[in-house]
């Protein structure tokens, strides 16, 4: 009678719902063990996400520093670049000057929207007895848009004085704070070397851009700068093209035009931002490798942590494995129970670790405005896959080993070597 009843009721395959209940009971009633595993797995995921976000943040910070000019901009610098692929000369006198007349000629090219010349120099800036050594940029109104410089108050350099000298200046925010100490700066007269300039605008704080601390500069009309520093040539000439598709054509035209104007000698270098970036490629590649390396190392560490925790917690339950088998569970069922358990905790822990790392990054990004931290998607995916994969693997291995023993041996906590 017993046999008949059984054959009608027992399927000899544990139901999935019961598997889930069994596994949740293990996780909920052995809390300490669950918490330890949870923390180990979550730390693994968090470590990978935060460390790669740090590396990636550094990388995109460097990129954004060089990205500031925009893809529409061509940069002309005096002197011929000799070697291919290397960085163009950034400083240094060139044989023939690039002049304001050249800039005017370039601005008349049909493909060119605006130009902005640049003259650079350092000079003593003083106001009411306070003296500072400061970077002076001589340029035009269009320079502000090109470099994404925004005013906090006042006005830009005058349009009419595009190539004309006027004694007006726009100053950086920190310079304003240091010289004027809270008093209004607009309309005040600054002394630059021996000349006097009236402050007409103050820049918004923007930090270091393209290697220059824009919070400490003084920007004056280019002609004024030329007479201040007693130079003819320009340090740079920026030109913005109307359409990105014309970039190469306009670049050719500019080279031709300047060659003509310089008695047939090609003595300037015109580069696009893409070219600049490609010359930076080596650095960027190095940074990419560094991020990947950080990811790999943090994954290795996280992996070892997860592996150890799983092996320990499953091995501790050897006896239970023996008991389950003694009660009629097959090895396959035992493995299923342990895999389900590892899978459940790994999924929950990885998910919470992932969310926590996003929270930390969100806070960090709010706190630091200059540099943004984002963990690359592949690192996020890899960290979760790693947590799940390792948890399952290192739950499976000891469970497999214990369940392949005779039940009595697992029950007595014997090791495989003691067999037969």
């Amino acid at each position: 009678m017993g046999d008949l009843e059984r054959s009608l009721t027992a399927s000899f395959m544990m139901a999935w719902a019961d598997t889930f209940i069994f596994v949740s009971q293990v996780l909920m009633r052995q809390r300490f063990r669950t918490v330890v595993l949870w923390v180990a797995i979550a730390i693994g995921v968090i470590a990978v996400n935060l460390l790669t976000a740090l590396g990636e943040g550094a990388k995109s910070y460097v990129l954004s520093e060089f990205n500031v000019l925009g893809r529409h901009t061509l940069i002309t610098l005096p002197g011929k670049k000799e070697t291919r692929g290397g960085m163009p000369p950034i400083t240094g006198e060139s044989p023939r000057a690039l002049t304001l007349k050249d800039a005017q000629a370039v601005s008349r090219l049909s493909g060119v929207k605006t130009v902005a010349p640049l003259v650079l120099g350092n000079i003593e800036v003083s106001y009411a007895g306070k003296i500072r050594e400061s970077l002076v940029m001589g340029s035009s109104r269009s320079f502000f848009a090109l470099r994404h410089l925004v005013l906090a108050r006042g006005q830009l350099l005058p349009e009419r004085g595009r190539f004309k000298g006027e004694a007006v200046a726009v100053i950086g925010s920190r310079l304003r704070d240091e010289l004027f100490a809270g008093k209004p700066a607009l309309g005040e007269w600054l002394r630059l070397g021996d000349s006097r300039f009236r402050v007409i605008g103050v820049l918004k704080t923007s930090g270091t851009r393209f290697g220059f601390d824009m919070d400490e500069v003084v920007i004056i009309p280019v002609v004024s700068a030329q007479s201040l520093f007693n130079v003819d040539g320009l340090f740079r000439l920026f030109a913005e093209v109307r359409h990105f598709s014309q970039l190469d054509t306009v670049k050719q035209q500019m080279v031709e035009l300047l060659k003509q104007r310089h008695e047939g000698e090609e003595d300037v270098t015109v580069i696009s931002q893409d070219a600049m970036l490609s010359s930076l490629q080596k650095i960027l590649d190095t940074l990419t490798y560094a991020v990947s390396g950080i990811a790999a190392v943090s994954m290795l560490v996280a992996g070892i942590l997860i592996m150890n925790m799983m092996i320990i917690t499953v091995s501790q339950r050897r006896k239970e494995i023996g008991l389950l088998k003694a009660l009629g569970a097959s090895s396959a069922l035992v493995r299923r129970l342990f895999l389900a358990e590892a899978g459940l905790i790994a999924a929950l822990a990885a998910l919470s670790g992932w969310m926590l790392s996003h929270l930390v990054l969100l806070l960090a990004n709010n706190y630091f405005s200059d540099i943004q931290f984002h963990s690359p998607w592949w690192a996020q995916a890899a960290s979760i896959a790693l947590a799940l994969g390792l948890s399952l693997l290192f739950a499976w291995l000891p469970a497999q080993r214990a369940s392949s023993l005779a039940p009595v041996q697992a029950l007595q906590g014997k090791t495989a070597q003691a067999q037969r």
């Binding site: 027992a10 399927s11 139901a15 389950l324 088998k325 003694a326 569970a329 396959a332 005779a406």
Partner: protein
């Protein structure tokens, strides 16, 4: 229902092989009440483990209901354990995190018995074991006698036809030991085959058949 022929079991201990079972041949019929006795180390537990499919013999044949279990694969042996054999251990081996009721339920859960049927059987069984009050208690909250009754409940919940008990009263005082013995004997009276290992001469004497073991061998059965 059980037939053992020339069963051997050796354990490798270092260089040596300890012969725990040596040419054991034995027949057990359905409904029997059999006590296995003998000095410590004589191989009683080893024999029980093999009978309960918890271990495999090194040589010889074990026929369970005519089936040679040595030729079955692991999954089939698991199913036989689930279906035909109940095992009671000296040290209970309950799952500490599960309540008394859940411990008894476990073999049914593993065997895929639907929940509704399980609850019905559990209610009946807890009543019969006199454990209804203790159903929600964890093993750590139970006395030794109660634990062993839970273990017996777990062993019989799948209605096996054979109940193997290796020194079931070994860890109990005489009162709770007697209660456990009474329970086992009443199950045998209901038709289950009962095989019992004991050191206790008085307990062994209550069995309808006794077997003595010495050094891995069976000895004559004095009062058969």
């Amino acid at each position: 229902m059980i037939e053992l022929r020339g069963l051997q079991k050796g354990f490798q201990v270092g260089e040596q092989v300890v012969q725990a079972l040596d040419e054991v041949s034995l027949t057990i019929s359905a409904g029997e009440y059999l006590a296995i006795m003998g000095p410590s180390g004589s191989g009683k537990s080893t024999l029980m483990n093999i009978l309960g499919l918890l271990d495999q013999a090194s040589a010889g044949e074990y026929l369970l209901d005519g089936v040679n279990v040595n030729q079955l694969n692991e999954a089939k042996r698991s199913q036989l354990r689930s279906e035909k054999i109940g095992f009671v251990f000296q040290s209970y081996h309950l799952v500490p995190r599960l309540t008394a009721r859940e411990n008894i339920e476990l073999p049914m859960v593993l065997a895929g018995v639907p929940p509704r049927l399980r609850q019905q059987k559990l209610d009946e069984l807890l009543e019969k074991l006199n454990l209804s009050e203790r159903a929600q208690h964890r093993p750590s909250q139970l006395s030794g006698g109660q634990r062993q009754r839970v273990a017996i409940g777990r062993a019989i919940v799948m209605r096996p036809r054979m109940l193997l008990a290796d020194e079931p009263t070994g860890n109990l005082d005489s009162t709770s030991g007697a209660a456990v013995t009474d329970l086992l004997e009443s199950l045998n009276a209901d038709g289950i085959t009962l095989v019992l290992v004991t050191h206790d001469q008085a307990l062994g004497a209550r069995a309808r058949r006794q077997i003595n073991m010495f050094d891995g061998r069976l000895r004559a059965e004095p009062n058969g």
